[in-house]
Amino acid sequence: MTGSYLRTYFLAKYITSNAPALAKLITPLQGFLIETNGYRKMGLRYDDLISEENPIVQKAINRLPPNEYYDRVFRIRRAHQLSLMHQLLPKEEYLKPEQDVRYLTPYILEVEAEMKEREYFDTMAVVTK
């Protein structure tokens, strides 16, 4: 479990920096999939969809600054209400791509790195030279 977000993040970074041809192929497909997924039409950001029922994301959410936390709660409650009413937001209130910021991912990566470091120290073998 530990390191799964790190792995995905670094894979994506690797592709965009080291395989530009592959990245060029995938990016329009990515745009199409985001639009048809429709989470922006419910007023959500991508990081609101990350499954939070695990200790890593829970810790990351606890580290959010207060205003980011309140905004997240608002977006999720609004999306719940829309889901209940089987409706989408009016077109003017759809989330724009600039607003779809990966706000939670840096905190998740930080928490994962810390857990990974702790695992490393707990399982290391000491060799005296």
Binding site: N62, R63, P65, E114, E117, R118, Y120, F121, M124, A125, V126, V127, K129
Partner: protein, 435 residues
């Protein structure tokens, strides 16, 4: 993989080359205490090159609670020591210290924050780098305050509140000085300490001009080179100014179940007369199975006198502990002792007082615990305290000055604190003092 990188880093640190440093001034030796001192890059260093396998290294920083912008922020900054820095995380520092063998402690007094590392002599470069990182570039992350440091601050405050003598000491300082030295040592629940407050305070006080590095078991040239290697990038800043402390006085009472304490305090500018009077009054046992022959020894340890030397002020406290009845009689004995001194000091009593004061003053500078006091004097006056001048100052105290100090305490307004079952503890004027 991680182990080899750790040991490689340690080997690299241990094999740094000794560089000639043009900005290093000539080392001066204060022969009596055995310290050699110097100034490198604006940082004062003093070291005692003693034999033995253990080195003690202290960073003494003029960042104590008296300089706090918000009450309690100095406590938070002290508790932030040894957390994450850009080079290594707090966890990594702890594990590496455990592997090498050593101890890292941080201490807070009203005058300074003291970061102390004790380790085997060969590990000096590693621990110097560790302390320099803590001083020069701590990360001070928001989540650390919430997850790690915040709970520690609460615990410290809780433990302090459960110790009646600490509560009394905080009360005496608060009544005596109000602001500055009167600010509380510990962060209370009512204090609004945010990460921005801590960062601002750290930017203000963790500067080269506020730092004194004191070591025992290291030589001056190695230390000077380490300073220029690791502390070059630290902010220079200006030294925190120490405003003069005025003495106010007053009476405070703290109801608590933590025990009963009655304490009186009087403060003035630094003077060896305070030390001699505290020694003449005495009370604390320095010889096993005996309370000595000082004026307060008849209370069998229930009442004792102590002098706390701050930077720019000396505070004399007379403290009585025990049950309310014991405190009443010990307090009465203390006031009688003051009246005896105010009536006149015989030469033998003065001699005993001077001898006790000399020993206490020099003992405070001794050993690893004494490095903090040496650093405090180094920061305040620019030079290491000289044993000969301390001795001559105390020996020049006259019976007349001790008598007049006792007269002042009996006639002027003092600070008085009662802790515990306050309804049964006496007020200052019931014992004959003014508060």
């Amino acid at each position: 993989m991680l182990v080899s990188s750790t040991s490689a880093c340690l080997r690299r640190a241990a094999s740094f080359s000794v560089r000639a440093n043009a900005s290093r001034s000539l080392a001066t030796a204060a022969a009596d205490l055995g310290f050699e001192s110097s100034t490198v890059d604006g940082i004062k260093i003093a070291t005692k090159d003693i034999a033995g396998p253990i080195t003690t290294l202290s960073f003494v920083i003029k960042a104590g609670s008296r300089y706090a912008t918000v009450p309690g922020v100095a406590h938070a900054l002290q508790r932030f020591a040894y957390q994450n820095t850009p080079k290594r995380s707090g966890l990594r520092l702890t594990r590496e210290t455990e592997l090498l063998g050593g101890s890292l402690t941080s201490e807070l007094t009203r005058d300074s924050i003291i970061l102390t590392a004790r380790f085997l002599k060969d590990d000096l470069p590693y621990f110097f780098e560790a302390l320099s990182d803590v001083f020069a570039q701590p990360t001070l992350a928001r989540h650390e305050l919430a997850e790690i440091v915040g709970p520690l601050l609460k615990l410290d405050a809780k433990l302090a509140g459960a110790d009646a003598i600490v509560v009394a000491s905080e009360g005496i300082n608060s009544a005596a000085y109000r602001k500055g030295l009167g600010l509380p040592l510990y962060a209370q629940a009512t204090d609004a300490i945010s990460i921005d407050t801590v960062r601002a305070y750290k930017d203000a006080v963790y500067t080269k001009s506020n730092l004194a590095i004191v070591a025992s078991g290291a030589d001056i040239s190695t230390l000077s080179d380490l300073v220029s290697t690791y502390l070059e990038k630290a902010p220079a800043g200006t030294a925190s100014s120490t405003p003069a402390s005025a003495f106010y006085g007053g009476e405070l009472r703290f109801p608590t179940t933590a025990g009963n304490v009655l304490s009186f305090g009087y403060a003035s500018d630094v003077s060896p007369t305070f030390n001699v009077l505290a020694s003449v009054l005495g009370g604390a046992s320095s010889i096993k199975w005996s309370y000595g022959t000082s004026l307060l020894s008849t209370t069998a340890g229930k009442a004792y006198a102590k002098v706390t030397p701050y930077n720019g002020s000396s505070l004399l406290t007379i403290t009585a502990t025990g049950s309310p009845a014991e405190i009443k009689s010990a307090g009465a004995t203390a006031v009688d002792a003051l009246k005896t001194v105010a009536a006149g000091v015989s030469p033998e009593i003065l001699k005993k007082g001077i001898a006790g004061a000399k020993f206490d003053a020099l003992y405070a500078l001794e050993g690893p615990a004494g490095l903090a006091s040496v650093g405090k004097t180094l920061l305040a006056s620019g030079s290491v305290p000289a044993a000969s001048s301390i001795v001559s100052e105390i020996e020049s105290v006259t019976a007349e000055s001790v008598k007049s100090l006792a007269e002042k305490i009996l006639s002027e307004k003092i600070a008085a604190v009662a802790v515990g079952k306050v309804s049964e503890l006496p007020y200052a004027d019931e014992l004959g003092l003014k508060a």
